[in-house]
Symmetry: C2
Subunit: 262 residues, 2 copies
DNA sequence: TAGATTGTTAATCGATTAACAATC
DNA sequence: TAGATTGTTAATCGATTAACAATC
């Protein structure tokens, strides 16, 4: 078994009681009654990262205008987003970088480490496993799975933790043992739905899917997807529009005619 | 030079004249005056992929209900999305799978192959380079760049095309020579902005960024981003909410009290 | 013709922007 | 106090859903 003391420390159940962990978390949270909109939640990690960079550069205070610019959003949107968390700014002054970063981190749940299981250890899976931002943001890879017998058993060093690729049928066991909360699917498309079902059966409710497949899950499962081919195709659409625009200019413009870009 | 006859075939400028290529494309397009909303464009690649799978399975006709289910969207949304492309369905019958796939592909610009340059050949860059869905969707990797002298010069087999990792300062040259239209950034965060600027200076207007950094670009550059850490943090937020909900139930529920989930 | 299903319109919902009163 | 900047409200914009007339 490649499970280690550290990965076991992520357990949510046995050693730290659920009650104790829950109490520690509940001291935190946000403004009563205000549900944070999904669009805001998706931007909080960006704000957090940029604040972290500023903090590292010794910046102590930042106004919404400057922070918004650094995050690539409008100042109005930034302030509205932050207002869902509470009133952490000072009128006439701005936001305290370090403390705002802390409040966002707490809201995101990133202040508590989460265990991640990765299914699929091909090219993409290997890249993800060695991805630094993972561990930096409070995520720990506690299990790696693959169905290929040639890959199973392979030793993998995650930080200073030695893991070993396991067959997928050990997934439930490892999730229970480590208390992992997040599953990452990096298998080929045709295996993805079965893997997804296995993750859900193992108790995982938060899944990140890299396989180019539409997955069906129950409503209580949070499924996010990253689809490289889709992103490229969206870019291709815009490239084509560029060509079309150029065409229309050429087609409609007679010699000597002034061409004005719309 | 690792440039090949095939990669040169992607040229938009010299051999095929811009006019000829533009005319071929302009025979296509959609409903006059109707701009396709971004949300729709982002879904078209999914529809296209699912239709491709159905076609391969010998399905000839599909109604919006079934196609929507397979794509994980509502039937109303699917029909509205498709209506931006034109009227390709038949009332009382449904859509012809193969021809709908063709119309979507044409709209997306996927029917024409696009050259892609990849900057950053670390773990993620390598995974992307060997990613099959790339080539399958009409994208061809025509240049790979890295700043690490130990990586530069390394031979890479893309399909049956032998490429070689080049230093970043060859980028402009290769983009011009191959007619590449899309740039992919897979460098560390601190190098990303400089690489992005280099791509834009080389004439690239469609960029996919995997580096965990906010990039600034001119308004005419289409910049999309894929941020793995952000995705995980969004999942972590939902995990935390689960714990909080459980806490409130425990905190507010007295022994023997019925607990009803909201 | 009768049943099925599209394409479109109108209603709803959510996200973004603009503007400014509150307040440091 | 005067200037700066937040937090919030109202206006706008865009996306989704529901419903149904058109029509195969």
């Amino acid at each position: 078994m490649p499970l280690t003391r550290r990965s076991m420390g992520l357990t949510t159940g046995s050693s730290a009681t659920p009650g104790a962990r829950a109490r520690a978390l509940s001291e935190a949270p946000a403004v009563e009654g205000r549900e944070i909109p999904p669009a805001t939640i998706a931007r909080l990690p960006i704000y957090h990262r940029v604040l972290g960079t500023m903090d590292a550069q010794g910046v102590h205070t930042v106004c919404s205008d400057d922070l918004a610019r650094a995050c690539g959003v409008s100042a109005a949107m930034l302030r509205k987003d932050l207002s869902y968390l509470g009133s952490y700014g000072t009128r006439g002054v701005g936001y305290h970088v370090a403390s705002l970063a802390f409040h966002i981190s707490r809201e995101l749940g990133t202040s508590v480490p989460y265990g991640v299981v990765l299914v699929g250890f091909g090219n993409l899976g290997r890249a993800l496993a060695s991805y630094r931002a993972f561990a930096l943001r409070g995520f720990t890879l506690v299990g790696i799975f693959d169905s290929d017998p040639r890959t199973v058993g392979e030793p993998v060093l995650i930080g200073d933790e030695p893991l070993r690729v396991l067959p997928v049928d050990h997934l439930g066991e490892v999730v229970q043992f480590t208390g992992a909360r997040i599953g990452v699917i990096a298998t080929p498309a045709d295996a993805a739905q079965a893997v997804c079902d296995t993750l859900v059966a193992a108790g995982i409710r938060s899944i990140l899917n890299f396989a180019p497949a539409v997955l069906a899950v129950a409503a209580d499962v949070e499924l996010r997807k990253v689809d490289l081919a889709v992103e490229l195709q969206i870019l291709a659409f815009h490239e084509q529009r560029r060509v079309e625009e150029a065409t229309h200019l050429v087609a409609h413009a007679r010699p000597g005619m002034q061409v004005v870009h719309a």
